[in-house]
Structures are given as C-alpha cells and as structure tokens.
Symmetry: C2
Subunit: 308 residues, 2 copies
Amino acid sequence: MKVVALAGGVGAAKFLSGLIEIVPPEDLTIIVNTGDDFLWMGLYICPDLDTVTHTLAGLSNPETGWGVQGDTFRCLDRLQQLGGESWFRIGDLDLATHLFRTNRLRDGCSLSEVTAEICVRNEIHCRILPMTDSPVPTLVHTDEGVLAFQEYFVRRKCEPVVKGFSFEGVELSQPAPGVMEALVSSGAVIVCPSNPFISIGPILAVPGIREAMRQAEATVVAVSPVVEGQAIKGPTAAMLAQLGHDVSAAGVAAMYADILDAFVLDTRDEALRSRVSDLGLAVRTAETIMNSAQARVDLARAVMEMVP
Amino acid sequence: MKVVALAGGVGAAKFLSGLIEIVPPEDLTIIVNTGDDFLWMGLYICPDLDTVTHTLAGLSNPETGWGVQGDTFRCLDRLQQLGGESWFRIGDLDLATHLFRTNRLRDGCSLSEVTAEICVRNEIHCRILPMTDSPVPTLVHTDEGVLAFQEYFVRRKCEPVVKGFSFEGVELSQPAPGVMEALVSSGAVIVCPSNPFISIGPILAVPGIREAMRQAEATVVAVSPVVEGQAIKGPTAAMLAQLGHDVSAAGVAAMYADILDAFVLDTRDEALRSRVSDLGLAVRTAETIMNSAQARVDLARAVMEMVP
C-alpha cells in the first residue's frame, strides 16, 4: 500500500523517522511545507525540507531537532564580524545544502528536482516532495502588522498576537509534480503532528490538495500535534487561542474534519475522544510524545493501524 | 606624500604588508586587479582583493599566501557530498566574505563600496580599491581555445600554452571611483611584484589608467616579479616565454617601459642592470624574495628610496 505523509518540520520529521521503519521507502511519499522558505544572504533556505531530509538521513541535531548534528558556526561567526546577517543561525554543514540548492535553482532546476538530488546524495530512498515548486511565502498577520514568517518566528520569537495567515501567491501555485498522483494513488494519507496553521495549512492551501484529500479513497489520518492543550514545540497552542479555536487536540481535529477519516489523540487526552468522534472521525489514543526511537516507531504503527 | 600601489595577489600582498609599515595608512591607496573575479556557486569571488585584505588584516594563510589562516573546509566537504562544485577550495571563514560581498552587491552596492566595508570590518586603514566596479573577466587565449581564468589557472593548472589575453568588456569599463584621483595626486606609484599579464595587465587595460600613469607627475616604480628568469610563484616565466618576451626581469621592465620611471631588480639579477637602464629607467637592485616580515619592510624601503 502506498502511503503519503503531509509534513512540517521537527514534529513531522520525528514521526517520519518512525514511519520509515515500517513503510517500505518505495511506498512512501512525503509532501513538505515550503511556506517557511526564505532568502538569507541570497541563499534559498527551506527549513522544513531540510529538517525532514536531515532527520531521515540521520544527520539532524538531536537537541534542537533542526540543523545538523555536530555542526559548527565558523562561517556565520565570521559573517557577523563582517556585518552580515547572522540572526538566523546557519551552520557550516547546513550552509552547503543552501548553497547547493540555490545554485541548482539558478541553473534552472525546480525545487522538486533539487530536493530529489539532495535525497539521493543523502541516501534517502523514500520520495520527498515540496508541496509546490513556486515560492508561496507565509505571511503572519499580527497586531503589529503583516510579518514575514521568519521575522515573526525567529526574530520576534512568536510574540506578536496572530490575527491570521496568508500564503503569498498560493492561488496561482500548483502542487509540485507527483503530489496529486501520490494523493490519488495512496491507501493512506497521514497528516503528521505539525502546526495546523503554518505547517499543514500552507500545504492544504495549494489549489487542488485539500480537495484531493477530501475526495481521496485513501484513509486520511491525522496525529495530534497538541497534548493536554500544549504543543510539544512551537506556537500551536497560542495560535489556536489567538484565532478563537478550541485550545486542544479536538480544536485541531475540527480544523481538518472535512478531510479526515481518523484522528490519533495522545493517551493523556482520552477525555477528548467523544468530542473528536462527534466530528465523524474514527479515534484512537497513542503515546504521541516521541522520546525515543522506539516511541517513534510505536506511534507510526498505531497510526497505520487506523488504516483498514 | 601620497602613495599608490597596483596589486595582484600573493606577491603584491606580501610586498604591501611591508609597505604599510613605512607609509602611513591615510597616504596609501592600493588598486587591485579584479580580472580573476568569478562566480562560484552563485557567489562573487575576488581572489586578489581577498588576498590583499586578508594579508593586510593579518589573517592570511602563511603557507599558501591566500585563504584564511586556520580555516576549515567543512562546508566545502559537505558540498562535495551533495554534488556541488568543489574544485575551488573555499574555506568556512573565507566563505563569509564571499557571502557578505555577494549579498551587498545584490543590495545594489558597488564592488568598491563593499570592499571599503570589508576593509573597515577588518580594521584595515589604508584605502583598497578594485581597479573597476565592472566585471571584466580575464580570458586566456590558449592552444586549446579561450578559457576563463580560473579554468586555466586552477582546473588546468596553467598547462595550456598561452597565445594572449583579453579582458571581457574592459573597453566599456571605468576606473573605480577614486582610482584616477589617487593616480594624479600621488607622489609615487608602485607596480607591485605581480604577474604583468594577468595581475597588472588587467589594471592597465582599464581605460584611462595606463595613460594616467604615463602622464603622472608621480615617480612610477615597478618591482620585478621575476628573479633569475623565474617567478617566485605562478606562471609568469612560462607566459613570458609563450608570448615571445625575454624571460627575465628585463622582459617585464620592457612591458612597462612607457609608464615607468624606475625599476627594482633582484640582487641576483645585477647583470640585467644595463639592459633595464637602456629602457630609460632608473635601476636599483634589492632583495626581492620576501622570506620574512623584515625582508618585506626592507624591500618596501628600497622601493621608496627610488622616489625623490
């Protein structure tokens, strides 16, 4: 059975490192958010694609979940001496990927083509696709005005109050080659435990993707990114509150109700079972806090058990 | 007295590190060859500007004369794993300058503006100017066709036989701001011990520069880059031979005869004194092989003694 996963960054990458242990690589396609992509010193940075590829290649920094294990910051520190931008911490090894990608894009390659090349060089055998080959930068509408995503996320540390999101140019974008084919031919589509607004939201905003999932014959299962009203990492809970959603896993399930068949709650959220069930979804609980390699595999298995 | 120096890479940088010990920085302007500049992975690399700035900042690698002392190659090695270009060895610290420069050029700065910024950040107090703000890439005409300079120099290790040089677009280029003013207001113009074809040649090819030197009231002195028919480093001797010049310091002096007032021969080339003198130049000998910091200062002093 073919499996598709929709992925943001760190949470998704952890889950996927379990999933690749139980789904053969040739059967797995991962569709990754590119709304966070941005230019830094002229280099095209794709944080979520890099987090997923570095994690699946076994190269990610286990402490942060992003960046490269054992990376150094010699270039960045020297850049700071020269007066260059150093607010985004990019390591020397990490930099190589951005240089390579930017150069290939300049050569006329698409983002999906260069992503495929990076996968081959990292000996990743499943397929990793950007949601689209067009830049569709996430804009965060806040009480302090519209901010570029990294401006909000890294520089402002998610402090401004969010009023909404937009994905610039998304209405004219197309799913990257292979995305729609993967969605219609798969038996399972998994929405990884990622932020529903800024990780999964941009993917679902690419014309055709949400509709394809709604109509898919596949079983569509989401894993809650929220446990006891809190996200493991990042601003999911604050965004749910600021945008008037229920600050819980049930609030996330409601956002996806039109496309889901099933939802995986954390065991700590057993009490939410009936509320999610009332959305018309099959529900199960599982240990979603992935503190070990085994926990990641166990969660992946629990998710796949939702697929008939 | 104001002093101007025309400079290529390693040989010039060594000489200049002596010159700055005896000329106050506010009186010194260095005009640097940019014919070797090239794009690598989308970054704008200026080998001679970087060699001069790194050397004057005390950062250059004493073994190679270029690059940064104690640099590492983590980004480059990773880039190689990814399939990127790694034939040009750029270190992690070095990379920061290329990223900074490229980004500032993209912001709309001129090469002379970003060079001034790099000097300030490196605490270099004399003025370093590119010969021009326009790209004028050196093309090497060889028995194997026309090669880009780095292609000839680094990849092909100067093996093809040279038939001539051209500097693409030079006829439309202008001296960088400050270059002509420095030449006309100086009391001494020093042609550093650099390759006459590919280091000094491009500078003299920028419209106005050669003529300004010919007419300058300044004493124009060149230091021979050739000792006993050999260059300390690089393909100078081979180029002299391949292009039908006398393979000696006198051959180099003849190439500059129209702009020079004086020429400094190495002590080992005492026998060439009368031949250089016959070109109408004042001549002296000095120890031009700069094996120590003191030797660099001594040579600089010998050169300045030629200026009345």
